[in-house]
Amino acid sequence: MNKIQRLSMFLRVIFQIAFVVWPLVLALYWIFAPQHFPYNFSINFIPNGTEILHPITGADSLWGFLIGLLPTIIEMIIIYFLIKLFKLYEQGEIFTLSNVEYLKKIGIYMLINQGMGFIYDALITFVLTMHNPPGHRVASFTFASHDAYNVVTAIMIIVIAWVMAEGCKLKEELKYTV
């Protein structure tokens, strides 16, 4: 087994664990959150600066979890494609069209996730501030620099996938050149 295959197997296992753990983290967060989680906790499902001026009820947590599922499902799809991609690398398939297809899908879903981030921010802030006194109820849309990085990264992945697809076609042609 060469280095790429070994590393791919390691990463595949990590992503398989993440695939199971990620929705559990979301569920646990909303079971205990935000009372037991500091607001600046690194895995924070509530946008920074959201003023919650009332105790979070079970219904709020349930709504938070359900809304949180929207980006989580997209993230799980991305992780699923990463698992598939590294499985192919593990099998020694490196420059094939199926790899390129997964890479392209990862890029596209990263863009969708970014769009979903806006919807999520608006919905979660609305639900959590719904019971605030008038004047403190918000539905916020945020676009920070890291969002721009994510969009650029997603576009770069799509472009790289496109270039790789052309490379695969060339490789295929070379394979059948006698």
Binding site: E172, E173, Y176, T177, V178
Partner: protein
């Protein structure tokens, strides 16, 4: 594709085996099989030249265009 490879016909005419041709031309048997089965997407002029020399034929005897 409408290009037909008549390599089998020429091999039969010259009573030559595929592995002999592959050896003389300097390509692998797998590559010759790719050519014979019509899976090839391109043929190098050097390969065609070597095949024609070996089978004492013209490129048109091997390649045929059927619209």
């Amino acid at each position: 594709m409408s290009i037909i490879i008549n390599l089998d016909v020429m091999l039969a005419k010259r009573k030559m085996r595929s592995n002999e041709l592959a050896k003389e031309v300097g390509i692998t048997e797998q590559n010759l099989s790719v050519l014979k089965t019509g899976k090839a997407k391109a043929i190098r002029l050097t390969t065609l030249d070597a095949i024609c020399k070996c089978l004492e034929c013209q490129p048109g005897d091997i390649l045929e265009f059927k619209p």
